[in-house]
Symmetry: C2
Subunit: 350 residues, 2 copies
């Protein structure tokens, strides 16, 4: 009753070799039913819960779990509808294969740190016992991505990568669609609200575009191209991908001397904040100021938000299959994305 029983102690108690006990649990057909059942009976009697998870992972080099890692803090992630849809798709396939899903936290601010500090802040990335990982939104050179790569852990990403596998949409073309849509409505002065990794703060800077998320850069570039060379595009951000950031960023853009006629947000979550800001100034979205989003999360439709629809759940599902389904060998899947026009966009005023 003292120590936790092990394979060895069960073997001893049952009068067989450890191999036999192992087979009893993992390869029923290798043993005669008589012996096998005797072993299981003894195991049950001793309260042996089956082979130890860590030991098994070490020996077989398989964990039965995959990791997930986001650009946002975990405690925030659960309020991001994009993340939720993605996770829901992903868990559909992990559930089917009885695979665990390890949510890996890491310090979001791992720039300008020494080797030790980075190691430390990536603790969970190093300790995660996983067979593969899904990294959504992380840039190629993100410490967590590098760490997983060093561990030779199969990685599926959500943005184009040189090597490695990914499930993407054509963010740039989607951006172009937004741009063309706005241009066709006569908008020549557009503010683009983007999420920014570093300061989850309140300030509203114009942005160092190299530091943006990969998808942001592409969408931004696309919007510019779609609007054409004669439009003015300013880029603002108030931190992470949250409604509040969208509100703050848009409030600043709309509060300046010459207000843009349209605000294009990097995501629907940001766009929701933009809509708030527009209304707070007594303006009406789609008439006084046009607003666009990205993703088409569930809340977009009731909000009347013009946006880019992408199949988020499918993305999750596919990322999961890439890791878990051996028959699924594609290195790169491109998902369709389409413009959905609603009431938040309209002809430019004047």
């Amino acid at each position: 009753m003292s120590e936790q029983p092990t394979l060895k102690s069960v073997a001893a108690a049952a009068g067989v070799s450890t191999a036999a006990v192992s087979y009893a649990f993992n390869r029923p057909d290798r043993l005669s039913t008589r012996v096998r059942e005797h072993i299981l009976a003894v195991a049950r009697e001793l309260g042996y819960p089956g082979p130890d998870a860590a030991a098994r992972s070490l020996r077989t080099r398989r964990a039965g779990a995959i990791g997930v890692i986001f650009t946002v803090g975990l405690s925030y992630a659960f309020s991001d509808p994009y993340v939720l849809a993605m996770l829901s798709g992903l868990t559909e396939v992990t559930e089917r294969t009885r695979t665990g899903l390890v949510l890996i936290p890491f310090d979001l601010t791992t720039t300008g740190l020494g080797e030790d500090e980075v190691r430390h802040s990536l603790d969970a990335v190093h300790r995660a016992v996983i067979d593969g990982a899904v990294a959504d939104g992380l840039p190629d050179d993100h410490p967590a991505v590098l760490a997983l790569a060093a561990r030779k852990i199969p990685l599926v990403r959500s943005s184009e990568t040189a090597s490695g596998r990914c499930v993407v949409i054509d963010d740039r073309e989607a951006g172009r669609e937004i741009g063309r849509h706005l241009a066709a409505l006569g908008h020549r002065d557009v503010a683009m609200v983007v999420a920014y990794p570093e300061p989850p703060g309140v300030a509203v800077p114009v942005v160092d575009e190299a530091a943006l998320y990969p998808y942001s850069r592409l969408r931004l570039a696309g919007v510019r191209e779609g609007l054409g060379p004669h439009a003015r595009v300013r880029v603002v951000s108030a931190g992470r991908n949250a409604q509040e950031s969208g509100r703050v960023a848009a409030a600043s853009a709309l509060g300046g001397p010459d207000v843009p006629s349209a605000v294009a947000a990097d995501s629907d979550v940001l766009a929701a904040g933009v809509l708030d800001a527009v209304r707070l100034r007594g303006l009406e979205p789609g008439r006084d100021v046009s607003v666009t989003g990205f993703d088409d999360v569930p809340a977009a439709e009731p909000a009347g938000l013009t946006t880019i629809r992408q199949p988020i759940r499918d993305r999750g599902r596919l990322m999961g299959r890439m890791l878990l389904d051996p028959g699924f060998t594609a290195r790169r899947v491109v998902l369709p994305a389409e413009l959905v026009v609603r009431s938040s966009t309209g002809p430019a005023p004047r």
Copy 2:
């Protein structure tokens, strides 16, 4: 460049013992800076990503991760606002301690199976490399709970347990409050809509109450007590905790010969469906039929739902601290819950 480097190969390449390499990564102060840096340099050169996670977990008997297990399928869980709030609180503390969070899937239907089938369907529970686990809503005798207990994994539950730790609310007293509130409004015929583990279906049975979730039983008992001995209470369910189930169950209750004057739901999610059903019949909640929920999720307020408020995030936080914070030794924490009256309840008609 062929094989993944190990502690051993790094030691060999650096001309030191494996112990030294281990210390270099785990106990910097055990080594002189010279040697340590030499080791790290060699490690980097070989592309050694640091000590292997599985091996380390085996040797140290610590995983740096905790598990979570729900009464609902994972892919559904991400649309349940209660679950999201709980997870958000939980991840607040796991993030702070750089602890991974393992979402453990399991077959929801593990009744009436042989030892082998149960083992198989609990695969992920057995394979999870974790130091502790949070089980929200699961009954004492749930196979997953038993499996975790057999593994001697510290468990924190959300319902009262004989032994073991838990973070609870007084579900029964909360139920009483609902009952008293309805009784005071003159309601003597109440339908209680509850979530039911087994059939995630469309049928609307009267229920075998022993099979209900522990919290459902308590809430139900409380409602009965609060209503007093002269009220009629019927119990209906249409499967899992989802808006759709609430709608179906309520539609059936309201479609019968003598309709109840109030419908008390087991959760706000169900209550949302009840509200749908009420409106679908052309009735007005709070006037024609009173409706109550449980939990006070974010959507409850805009819906005008009378409900029991409980601090869900706090629950997540506390469950996390129970597992992760050594200074937190309480075996049992009771969280406050209070009735929040909104427009969905009113005097009984006639």
